[in-house]
């Protein structure tokens, strides 16, 4: 998977959880919880969706590494490598 494909998949899962977010306006440095207002349940749902879609089960200790879309895409790319 290319980074662009991972980014698209990530944004699709994100907007399924938070349908009011317009994927076109999401910046790579937006903080999922502080800027996009995901709560802990939304965040866990996102982790579950990524697990299902990409087969990557992000451990809790790595949550800070996927705190923004930009960091998450790089993290997932490494995990899928």
């Amino acid at each position: 998977m290319t980074e662009a494909e991972i980014r698209r998949a990530f944004l699709e899962e994100l907007t399924l959880i938070a349908p009011d977010i317009d994927p076109a306006t999401v910046g790579d440095d937006d903080h999922l919880q502080d800027d996009l207002e995901l709560d802990s349940m939304d965040f866990l749902n996102l982790i579950m969706a990524l697990h299902k879609r990409l087969g990557v089960a992000v451990p809790e200790a790595d949550y800070p590494q996927i705190a923004t879309p930009g960091r998450a895409v790089r993290y997932l790319a490494r995990a899928l490598d």
């Binding site: 938070a18 349908p19 009011d20 802990s40 349940m41 866990l44 579950m48 697990h51 809790e60």
Partner: protein, 419 residues
């Protein structure tokens, strides 16, 4: 012979719109069956019946907005004979508290509808195709006939996406169904579908009404205690380590479990205060304040929370949060909460002082967990802590009893393996 009425779905509800019957006349229903769907300012709510009965006839039609207490259906207890054949039935007219009224005087979609809806003897015969409330609403607004749409949901149910697809590919539509102006309208309304069928202005108004009533009628007192949750944090991290995301639990489940167990020790904080009398509840129906994206909140109750272990509590939270945001809650969940818990989550305020949701008498608030310098055995250590607050009704309890609750929560969270 009795009348099934529009139920009150909380202190802040005055009326609801009947959107769907899930039974037909002649059907037998059991205690707890969901028989209808009503749309309120909190979204679509599934309406349960609390007796074993047979549905005789409908007294309200889908699409009608009716006040709380308005008759919806004539029913009779199972085992008794139906009296519906009798023409002599004046009691229904007498029982109607207020005439049914339409909240929305302008009903463009109804006016556009080619054939007027007539009262039907057998609603199942020409019942509308199954559709989600959001799909129904959008179709209504866009003037698209539900019958003209192929549903892709469970059982062929029409989903929001199906209606959108139909609107966006109007070539298949007859010109009358979908004119350009209406399409533009629908597109404009799309950017913030926080929850299908949810009217944010109405929800804001309802919160204002309930909270104003609470502050007017309930003499609140407030307590706060900051507690060390490092043991719970460490225990949770170890428990979730190596587990799939689906099997992980959140700190919020520990908070709710600890509060539920604690309040069984302080019964004057758990129950309902009505007409000057407090009735404690043996069961803990734990209301969970769920913030809606885009604003507003709903506090559905997790029923019999005292019977749920941590994993079951997590599953119940997951279920109720998902349905509060995207699906349907049931009327028992809307009205039977005996205490409410509200959590700030990460990165919010240090402490959260809630306003009691009448007729309850207490609300517990968890602030954002914060690492603070903390004294442990005469040594200052960095520890994860949380400030827990209690807002309680002074007509029913006093600060000393309230403090007992916070002390119990602290004790329980120190030994998370016993939760």
């Amino acid at each position: 012979m009795t009348t099934f009425k529009m139920p009150s779905l909380g202190a802040d509800m005055e009326e609801g719109k009947l959107v769907e019957w899930l039974v037909s006349p002649g059907d037998s229903v059991a205690h707890g069956d969901v028989i209808a769907v009503v749309e309120t300012h909190k979204g679509a709510i599934e309406i349960e019946i609390f007796e074993a009965a047979v549905i005789d006839e409908f007294l309200a039609e889908t699409g009608q907005t009716l006040p709380v207490g308005a008759p919806l259906a004539r029913i009779h207890p199972r085992g008794e004979k139906s009296e519906v054949a009798s023409d002599n039935r004046p009691e229904v007219q007498d029982q109607a508290p207020k005439p049914a009224r339409q909240t929305d005087p302008v009903k463009p979609a109804a006016a556009r509808r080619p054939k007027p809806e007539t009262p039907r003897a057998s609603p199942s015969a020409d019942a509308p195709p199954p559709a989600s409330p959001a799909a129904r609403k959008l179709a209504d607004r866009a003037g698209v006939e539900l019958g003209a749409i192929a549903g892709t949901g469970p059982g062929g149910a029409i989903l929001l996406a199906d209606v959108r697809a139909r609107i966006e590919t109007p070539d298949a539509a007859t010109p009358d169904d979908c004119i350009e102006g209406q399409m533009a309208d629908v597109t404009d309304a799309r950017p913030h579908p926080a929850k299908p069928g949810l009217d944010m202005a109405a929800m804001r108004q309802a919160i204002a009404a309930a909270m104003s009533r609470s502050k007017r009628e309930i003499p609140h007192y407030y307590l706060a205690r900051t507690i060390d949750i490092q043991p719970a944090t460490d225990w949770l991290a170890a428990r979730n380590l190596g587990r799939d995301p689906e099997a992980r639990i959140l700190m919020g489940a520990l908070f709710l479990r600890a509060t539920t167990l604690a309040v069984t020790q302080v019964p004057e904080l758990n129950g309902h205060f009505n007409d000057g009398v407090f009735r404690p509840s043996d069961a803990v129906h734990a209301g969970l304040a769920v913030a809606m994206r885009g604003g507003g909140l709903i506090a559905p109750a997790i029923r019999d929370a005292q019977t749920l272990g941590l994993d079951a509590m997590m599953a119940a939270i997951r279920d109720v949060v998902a349905r509060a945001r995207n699906g349907r809650l049931r009327n028992s969940e809307m009205t039977q909460g005996t205490i409410t818990v509200s959590s700030m989550g990460d990165g919010g305020g240090d402490a959260l002082y809630g306003v009691i949701y009448p007729p309850q008498v207490a609300i517990v608030g968890f602030g954002a967990p914060v690492r603070r310098p903390w004294v442990v055995d005469d040594t200052v250590l960095p520890r994860s802590t949380v400030t827990v607050t209690l807002s309680a009704d002074h007509r029913v309890s006093d600060g000393r009893r309230g403090a007992r609750l916070l002390g119990e929560i602290e004790r329980l969270l120190k030994e998370p393996d016993k939760l």
